[in-house]
Each structure stands twice: as structure tokens, then as C-alpha cells.
Amino acid sequence: MPAGSNLEAVLSAGRFAVTAELGPPKGTNLGVVERKAEILRHCCDAVNLTDNQTAIVRMSSLACAIHLRRMGLDPVMQMTCRDRNRLALQSDVLGAAGAGVRNFLCLSGDHQQFGNHPGAKNVFDLDSIQLIQVLAGMRDTRRFQGGDEFTGDIPMFIGAAANPFADPLPYRVVRLAKKVRAGANFIQTQAVFDLEIFGRWMAQVRARGLHEQTAIMAGIVPLKSVGTARYMRDYVSGITVPDAIIARMEDAADPKAEGMAIAVELIDAAREIPGVRGVHIMAVGWEDVVPILTERAGLLPRPLI
């Protein structure tokens, strides 16, 4: 049964899809969400709402996803296993689905040590693969994980993340295969800077035929400064930034322009890799750059399906 989301429609039509990330505000101002959503409206097929990203408390992805739905956008509601157990996750899914949210992204979640509540008790009742299974089970059997039936439709396009760059590298494709087997319809990867490692991972993906069972979207993070580049390299877990990119950012007269140029090159390169069916742009607070990148990469206008 199709979920009926715009993202699903674009991918099913064989078009190269674009999603972008929207970081909800650290406060109550929904106007911030509206402003960012308007920037992203015409340059991507769906918008990810992060769920307490980097373990920092923000407006909930559920609330923001519903708001975006009301604005006529196609939200991707991110859900982490860190903060909620299976009861809370399933009830959030019901609420979101009831309000027309169709895309759900299942994540383990960054450890709370990195956020603004390092002393928090985490949950991890499920892991991300089990969360995919639970959602697919809800969709396909109209039953909760605990076995009870529920009422109403629950069309879902289920997503997951993949990191081709973290240890142990040979295991990364195995983990993706498990996510696909659990029911992941689409995959958004960690930020790609190292095309060589990414290319090798995609070759393994194709060798297993996974690219035909799930839609793989390459993660793109536009760099704003050499500081950001070094920070990504040194402090963000599971991100590899090659020396050549650091050097380009160091030498650039206008680092923002250089960051944009690199991002466009990475989008172009990702598009050329067989099996990559879209890009997921994570601008981390720099949402204004998304229309520029998609324009320059020749990804506009977005298809209306």
C-alpha cells in the first residue's frame, strides 16, 4: 500500500529526490519553523524535522511535522530511540499519521552526553532496526508491537539513516541490509565528504541489490567555514572530512562560497554514482543555502507528481 507522501511519489516516479533538514527552535516560536519551511518549500520534496538533535531539547519533531503538514509541505518526522520507549513512539506515530504525516525516519539518536542534559537517563527500549520493524508492523498489520489492533489507517513511508564512514567499515553494509530487511523504504546517509569511501560502500550496496529494495539518498552538509570543517572532522562522530576539503576551505577567500561550491560538487558526484536516488541536505541552521545549492546543482524546479 503506498503511503501517499510526496517523497515516496518522487522516488517511485524514478526522479532524483531532494530532502532537507529543518532544525526546530530551542523555544516556543513556531514562526521560526514557518520561516524555514517557506525557504525549503520549493526546493525539496520533503523536509526532515529533527528530534532533539545532538540531544539538545528543542520543539518536538511531532509538533513541527504536524505544523508543516498544515502548511502543505511533506514532513519527514525523525524519531529517536534515545528519548522514548515503544509506548511513546507508537503513540506519536498515531498522532502524526492522524494529522497526515507520512514519512517517518527511525534513528538510534545521539547519546545524551553530547547535549544539554548529559545527566539524563536514556531509554533505548528499542534500537533503530527494531523501531523500523515496529512501524512496518503497525502499517502492515494494523497492530501495535504488543499485539493489540488499533483503528484507522496508518500509511507510512519508513526511513532510516546509514553511516558509510563509521567503524567497523565492513559491517556498515550489513547494518544497512538489516534496516532494509526490517522494512526501511528509504535511507538518508551521514554527511558525505569522502567520495572514495562512499563509492566503495555504494558498490557493496549494489552487490547486495539493496539499492533496488530501498531508496538511498546521500547526505550533504554545506560547510560554512574552515572551523566548521575541522569541527566536523574532529568532533562529530562518524564523519570523515578529507584533507583536500579542509585545505580548500583554508585557502578560500570566501569560505561560504567555497563551502557551497564543494556541496554542489558533492551533489553532482553523488548523482553519478549508480544506485544513489537522491540527496538529503543538512544545512544545520543555514537553511537559506538550500535553494541556492539545489538551483546550482540543477535540481530545480522540483517535480510536481
Binding site: D125, Q130, V134, N163, A166, K178, S237, G238
Partner: protein
């Protein structure tokens, strides 16, 4: 074994303040082995407290083989009777054991019970088990992701490990990197393709405090009586 470490002396001093007769009670098993609650530690702590708290306090010292069993606790009944408070250098089970056997005496915890682990090298202990009640070590190459992964992930590593280390600390190896390496070594890495399904955490603390009753052993005891 259960690994514990002594609370800061200042914390212990604050707890013990106001009592005039104190029994510092060590434990001869786990906390002795991890150098936190044996005879030597009882002696050192008693000495420190005497100098910290001065003349107004009388401190007696004793060690039982195990604070978690009645037969050993019964051996110190008289000493406990003389004390206003017992400062236990056992684990949290020992502290509660003393309290249950001698409800009239105040029991103070001198240690922080930290984890179940093993001695990696002299002076280094590391957690190995969280007593989750449903062991899956046969599926993970004998390395526990519940206890050793900071996110207790059951189906492989998160996106964080780098250079074999957990994202939250370069001191900690990533449990899933260890699992992968171990299964590679054993030629059983294909085992990691299996999805470990959603768990029933009832066997863990989520089902409330756990209790084991062995009818076979109960019958034997009743026959003897």
C-alpha cells in the same frame, strides 16, 4: 564480581556525624577483591574517621565473609548491638542485608556500588554485565552490547564509533567493533546479519525487583525441617 568504590571521605564524614558508636563493617567477598571493602580498607577508613571526627566517636571494626547472607551477618550480632550505626563497606546488597537483619540499627553506605565487571588489569575494573535477565551473549560473540554499548543497541553499532572507540569516550572500545572482531576471528561474522527482535525487558528491572524461587531447593529445605 560486584565492583564498588569508596565514597569520598567527606561524604562519609557527613553521614557519620552525630553518631557516637560506629561499627565499620567490611565484606570478605566482592568488595575485598576489588580493594574497596576488605580488612585493610576497613582499618584505613576507621583510622581516617577517628582523626576526622575526633574523640567524640568510638569506632569498632569487623569484616564478615559475606554481608549478603544471614549466617555471616549473624556472627556480628553483638558488635552491631553495641553500635548506633553500621558503616557498611559491602555493596548495596550488603547494606540492605544488614538493615534487614538488624532493623534497629542505622546502616550507612560507605561505598558506591558501581557495576558487575571483571579485573582487566591490576587496578582496572570494567563493566561486563547489567543483569538484564535474558542473556544473549551467544548471539554477540560473548561480548555484551546491553552493558558495553552506551546505547545498549542490539543490532549493530550506531553511526558514532571511530578508530574502534565509542563516540562518548575514547577510553571505551565500541562494543560492536569488539563483537565484529570477535566473530570475524571465529569465522562467524554472518551471525551479524540476523535481526535481534524487540526485547521483552520484563526480565530486566523493568519488571520490578526480580526474585528467583527454586521449588526443588525449597522442597529439600522443607523436608529437612
Amino acid at each position: 564480581m560486584i565492583v564498588a568504590q569508596q565514597k569520598p571521605l567527606e561524604d562519609i564524614r557527613q553521614m557519620a556525624r552525630g553518631f557516637r558508636r560506629l561499627l565499620v563493617l567490611g565484606c570478605g567477598t566482592c568488595t575485598t577483591v576489588c580493594f574497596a571493602g576488605g580488612e585493610k580498607e576497613v582499618g584505613l577508613l576507621a583510622t581516617s574517621l577517628r582523626s576526622a571526627l575526633g574523640q567524640e566517636i568510638e569506632i569498632e571494626e569487623a569484616v564478615v565473609q559475606r554481608q549478603c547472607e544471614w549466617e555471616f551477618l549473624d556472627q556480628v550480632g553483638e558488635a552491631v548491638g553495641r553500635a548506633e550505626a553500621v558503616l557498611s563497606l559491602g555493596c548495596g546488597v550488603g547494606v540492605q542485608g544488614i538493615g534487614e537483619r538488624y532493623p534497629g540499627v542505622v546502616v550507612l553506605p560507605g561505598l558506591n556500588t558501581t557495576f558487575m565487571g571483571l579485573t582487566e588489569a591490576p587496578g582496572i575494573w570494567e563493566e561486563r554485565c547489567m543483569a538484564c535477565g535474558d542473556c544473549l551473549l551467544h548471539r554477540t560473540g560473548g561480548i555484551c552490547p546491553v552493558a558495553r554499548c552506551a546505547k545498549s543497541l542490539l543490532n549493530g553499532p550506531c553511526g558514532g564509533p571511530q578508530d574502534g572507540h565509542c563516540e562518548i569516550s575514547p577510553e571505551n572500545p565500541c562494543a560492536w567493533v569488539l563483537i565484529y572482531d570477535r566473530l570475524m576471528q571465529q569465522g562467524r561474522v554472518e551471525q551479524l546479519e540476523e535481526i535481534i527482535p524487540v526485547r521483552d525487558w520484563k526480565a530486566s528491572h523493568s519488571g520490578g525487583p526480580r526474585r528467583i524461587v527454586r521449588p526443588d531447593l525449597r522442597e529439600m529445605v522443607e523436608e529437612e525441617v
